[in-house]
Amino acid sequence: MQLNPTESAIRQFLVEDVFYDRDLRNLGPDDSLLQRGLLDSMSILKTVTFCEEQFGVSIPDEAVLPDHFESIRAIARLVERVRAK
């Protein structure tokens, strides 16, 4: 799987800090995080905070929606979009 640096950092954070109780060594960039019920509200807030600190961006509350957290790739796209602004 081909991951850009943003996707890699998000993936590493999710696998190590959020889903520490699951074996997700094979989590791919397009695998659904929501379909599998992986992300709960606490995990989402942690992920938002991580992205804001790691990438120096500000993610507005109204952008924290299921479509933007569907997969690692979707989260990375959200980060790129708010960074471009």
Partner: protein, 530 residues
């Protein structure tokens, strides 16, 4: 006709079978369809040996099938046992063994973990896969063949002839237990209906209402959503699991769907205000907003009331053991510095404020709240010692005795007769609306071989009321990390009970009397009980 919860569905279907009962993720069920599906599932339960007085566990994401399953279980004479869909399989298995469930409704992706956790031995007589279309999609678990949901369609749609009484158990909800074992709260049809009937009348629900359902089914706020709605023949709008964790998505959906009645925890509402952009939305349809489960921070309640000045707001109070037993209608926006009372007893219950020797405390004094009346649970499943402790016969009037439930909540009666909640007698806390016994987490941590002592404290938080922090003393020479302990907790406890932070110390701070100094560990003036 006896006061049975599933009668509410049958009556609504009889009155207007085409009326909308449920809408979720674009799928809809009319009352006639919901009744027919529930009857078919009840017949399948009966055909597989589930009898009156049995238990049927539900371990699946919120869905129309979950609603069908809980009504079907009751129609078969069984109590439904909803289990947190996010809980680990080990917890489902522990609960299924505790109350010896005869039937289980789940989804295919859970089969492997279930089979492993049951280890070949289960109390089940049968299990159903709510997402399975064919036998091939319904795997075997613990030696039992799975039954695909689609197979139910072959059965008759009329109600099975199962006798039932209002004192039969309707559901068992597991709550956190202070000694490390969750406790199954047994609630009868009558216990639940006195509340749901009263609430439907008090808040004047009609068939025109569109009722939100945010609470999961293993949380008793959902009984209002399900059964007060059915009583009124209104429509139920469960939040899709895909949206549930996104306050902005839930808020937008509720506004778009023009939902008229909302009942949820203050935590959910606060997150919709602070992170969900609720204040940017128009809420002309909102007519009734009820909340329960936590103390509502007044500053946020005031913001919420400003948003929907035309709506009715009420604070409902009651532990799972009594469901809602007192209530307070918030008639005018409260002043910023006045705590919101929990109000007066609902008409089916009586609230007693007693001292340590079970004598009434004069108005204005602090005492423990005891509740007696029609909503008080039947007891905890299989816990006679615990029942003897919290369900006691009290002298209500000279020579008149009744069984009452000891809430563990400290209250005071105000001069106007309304009760004010002051705190807990013990180490039970609320986090994100969940009720958590810190002792259950401490017991789990202490079961780790490298842990000598562990204390869990609740650190106050503005949005979610409390965050959990564990302070651990490792055994001499033992190597253990915070991640390893989180993993150890997550293997048995629901996610919301896994401490967010785990700190290691050489020793725990003690008070002069030798007790662990919980206040010092939580920082500030955290309400840690006594």
């Amino acid at each position: 006709m006896p006061l049975l919860l599933h009668r509410l569905l049958a009556e609504a279907a009889e009155r207007d079978p085409r009326a909308l009962a449920l809408a979720m993720d674009g799928a809809t069920l009319s009352y006639g369809e919901l009744e027919a599906h529930a009857n078919r599932f009840a017949r399948s339960l009966a055909a597989h040996g589930v009898r009156r007085g049995d238990r049927v566990a539900l371990w699946l994401p919120k869905s129309p099938e979950a609603v069908v399953a809980l009504y079907g279980a009751m129609k078969a004479g069984a109590a439904y046992v909803p289990v947190d869909p996010a809980a680990p399989a080990a917890r489902l298995v522990a609960l299924a063994r505790d109350c010896q469930v005869a039937g289980l409704v789940t989804t295919g992706e859970r089969a492997g973990a279930l089979d492993e956790a049951f280890g070949g031995r289960s109390p089940l007589r049968a299990l159903w896969f709510a997402d399975a279309a064919t036998v091939a999609d319904a795997p075997r678990v613990a030696g039992l063949p799975g039954i695909p949901w689609a197979a139910l369609a072959a059965g008759a749609a009329t109600a099975p002839d199962v006798p039932a009484l209002e004192d039969d158990l309707a559901y068992i909800l597991y709550t956190s237990g202070s000694t490390g074992e969750p406790k199954g709260v047994m609630v009868s049809h009558r216990n639940c209906r006195v509340f749901t009937d009263w609430a439907a009348e008090t808040f004047a629900l009609t068939s025109a209402d569109r009722v939100a359902n945010q609470a999961p089914f293993h949380f008793d706020l959902s009984t209002f959503d399900l059964f007060s709605t059915a009583r009124a023949g209104a429509s139920l709008h469960p939040v899709s699991p895909r949206l549930a964790s996104f306050p902005a998505a839930v808020a937008a959906r509720w506004a778009e769907d023009r939902l008229s009645v909302w009942y949820c925890t203050p935590s959910s509402l606060v997150l919709m205000l602070t992170r969900g952009g609720l204040e940017r939305l128009d809420l002309p349809a909102l007519r009734v907003l009820l909340f329960a489960g936590e103390v509502f921070p007044i500053k946020f309640l005031r913001r919420l009331m400003a948003l929907a000045p035309h709506a009715r707001f009420a604070n409902l109070y009651g532990p799972t053991e009594t469901n809602v037993c007192t209530w307070h209608e918030v008639a005018a926006t409260p002043a910023a510095d006045t705590p919101l009372p929990i109000g007066r007893a609902c008409p089916y219950d009586e609230a007693l404020v007693l001292d340590e020797r079970l004598r009434p405390v004069p108005a204005g004094g602090v005492g423990e709240l005891w509740i007696r009346g029609a909503s008080v649970m039947q007891g905890y499943w299989g816990r006679p010692e615990r029942n003897a402790l919290v369900l006691q016969s009290l002298e209500i009037a000279p020579g008149v005795h009744d069984r009452a439930y000891r809430t563990g909540d400290l209250v005071r009666e105000r001069p106007d007769g309304e009760l004010e909640f002051l705190g807990r007698r013990d180490h039970q806390v609320k986090t994100r609306g969940h009720r958590v016994e810190l002792g259950e987490i401490e017991a789990r941590l202490a079961a780790h071989p490298a842990v000598d002592e562990a204390v869990v404290v609740a650190v106050p938080d503005e949005e979610i009321m409390h965050r959990l922090k564990a302070v651990v003393v490792a055994k001499p020479g033992a190597e253990v990390t915070a991640d390893a302990l989180k993993l150890h907790c997550a293997a048995m406890l629901p996610r919301y009970m896994v401490p967010e932070t785990i700190e290691f110390r050489a020793a725990l701070p003690r008070t002069s009397s030798g007790k662990v100094d919980r206040r010092a560990l939580a920082g500030a003036d955290a309400p840690q009980g006594t």
